[in-house]
């Protein structure tokens, strides 16, 4: 009689401990997962910021170098192409990140072509408005680098958390999946060189 009570007590204790451990791990997973989504929207924000700078930049350059049509339309086209690619944080995976990255790379290379052309116009390079835009563009490229890094860091934290034993069992039970990273592509994602 006494033995059965002890067994029941032990089993109940184990169940309670297991339950609270599972709940704690699950809630941490939700938090970390949300942090990754938050970091992703920060990444999109800073890319958006660059996209928003483009019309102003194009207008300013047009004022001095209107006949560089090819380069200017290249920038505008890359911009409209990139704005059509938006990714919901819930379908973030290696493929969708790659797609997003490819679209943004189009802008990067179009912008670097534009900056090469700008070198030929000393008046434009001395224009205060243009110089400020240039500073903003540079700052935005820095922000992109920082936010991509932060995204990868949060994704790594989340991935490490859900893949460690025994949390991987809980993660599998509730369908938490590994998050994809931003991959630095050789040279293609480098900030356009803005020279003075």
């Amino acid at each position: 009689m006494k033995k059965t009570w002890i067994t029941i007590g032990v089993v109940a204790l184990i169940v309670i401990i297991l339950y609270s451990v599972t709940i704690g791990a699950y809630n941490s997973m939700v938090e970390k997962d949300e942090a990754v989504s938050g970091a992703w929207s920060q990444v999109e924000n800073v890319y958006q910021r660059r996209t928003d700078l483009i019309p102003n930049l194009v207008e300013t350059v047009k004022g001095y170098a209107a006949h560089e049509k090819e380069v200017l339309t290249g920038v505008v086209e890359a911009r409209s192409k990139a704005t059509s690619v938006n990714i919901d944080p819930s379908n973030l995976n290696a493929e969708s990140i790659k797609k997003f990255q490819a679209a943004q790379e189009g802008i990067s290379s179009a912008l670097s072509r534009l900056m090469v052309v700008v070198e030929r116009y000393p008046d434009l390079k001395a224009n205060q408005n243009f110089l400020q835009l240039q500073a903003q563009l540079e700052g935005t490229e820095n922000r992109i680098t920082v936010e991509r890094q932060k995204f990868n860091d949060t994704a790594k934290e989340y991935n490490t958390y859900i893949r460690k034993f025994p949390k991987n069992i809980i993660a599998g039970m509730f369908g938490f999946e590994k998050r994809a990273y931003f991959e630095a592509e050789s040279g293609a994602e480098k900030a356009p060189q803005v020279k003075f």
């Binding site: 400020q132 903003q136 003075f196």
Partner: protein, 266 residues
């Protein structure tokens, strides 16, 4: 015989494990030493002026430190000045951003830190300067303004080797801009004041009770003496309080940086 063999083998295993472990330990400690060498460590009592390249005099350092410290006390915005002789292979923008982020310059809730980074030209022929703004200051201190400060205020003076004057000018401008932004923030001073009020209220009630009691039971002269003693104690309390306010030590608030800001070279 067999027992002995076993013992030798197990001893060997233990020795080997210790050897491997110590090699690993050595390797990792060496690695951290190497990594620490270049990127500057956060100063242990927080300092706003970190002249690692030795371009300021002690008096100049103190002047800047006091100015920035007084400003951060009233406004919570923190400005970090750092001069370095080496950017550790980083770009100036990411160096400044990482210093801000790792040291936690600025208030944690407002992210209102600023890092002014200067690498003097004398070291390797290329002078570099950068102003990095924390997330919360990106609106008040946009990249174009940072760029303007670096190009038009700092670099012309740096070219004349007037490092203190250039940094001082930048600090003054940033203080001017930021003082309009976080004015209302007063770190945990209100609870202290209300605590004082409660304390004096309790004393007042106590005094009133004492006077009332002495009128009821004792003579007038003894009531006067008792009241005097109590007031004396109150005076001693407020004196201790003001001295502890004056000696408050500062620390970085844990602000975060997103790569905002601008810089230039000369």
């Amino acid at each position: 015989m067999k027992e002995e063999n076993k013992k030798i083998v197990s001893n060997r295993i233990i020795l080997r494990t210790i050897l491997v472990a110590s090699i690993f330990f050595l390797f990792f400690s060496l690695k951290t030493v190497l990594a620490k060498e270049c990127f500057p460590e956060k100063p242990a009592p927080a300092r706003f002026v970190n002249d690692l390249a030795n371009v300021f005099t002690t008096a100049q350092k103190n002047e800047l430190e006091n100015k920035i410290g007084a400003f951060s006390d009233t406004n919570s915005t923190q400005i970090l000045v750092i001069t370095v002789s080496d950017l550790c292979g980083y770009d100036k923008s990411s160096f400044a951003q990482q210093i801000g982020e790792k040291w936690g310059v600025g208030n944690k809730d407002f992210n209102n830190g600023v890092v002014i980074l200067v690498k003097p030209k004398e070291i390797d022929g290329k002078g570099e300067a950068f102003i990095a703004s924390g997330y919360g200051l990106e609106g008040a201190l946009p990249d174009a303004i940072c760029w303007d400060i670096v190009q038009n205020e700092m670099i012309p003076l740096f070219k004349k080797k007037a490092y203190f004057e250039g940094v001082d000018a930048a600090v003054n401008i940033i203080i001017g801009i930021a003082s309009g932004e976080f004015k209302t923030y007063e770190p945990n001073r209100t609870p202290q004041i209300s605590g004082l009020i409660v304390f004096f209220l309790i004393i007042a009630i106590y005094v009133a009770l004492a006077i009332y009691r002495s009128r009821k039971y004792g003579t007038i002269s003894s009531a006067g003496r008792r009241g005097g003693t109590i007031f004396y104690g109150g005076g001693g309390f407020s004196g201790g309080r003001s001295s502890s306010w004056g000696g408050s030590s500062r620390s970085f608030g844990g602000g975060s940086f997103g790569g905002g800001g601008a810089g230039g070279s000369w």
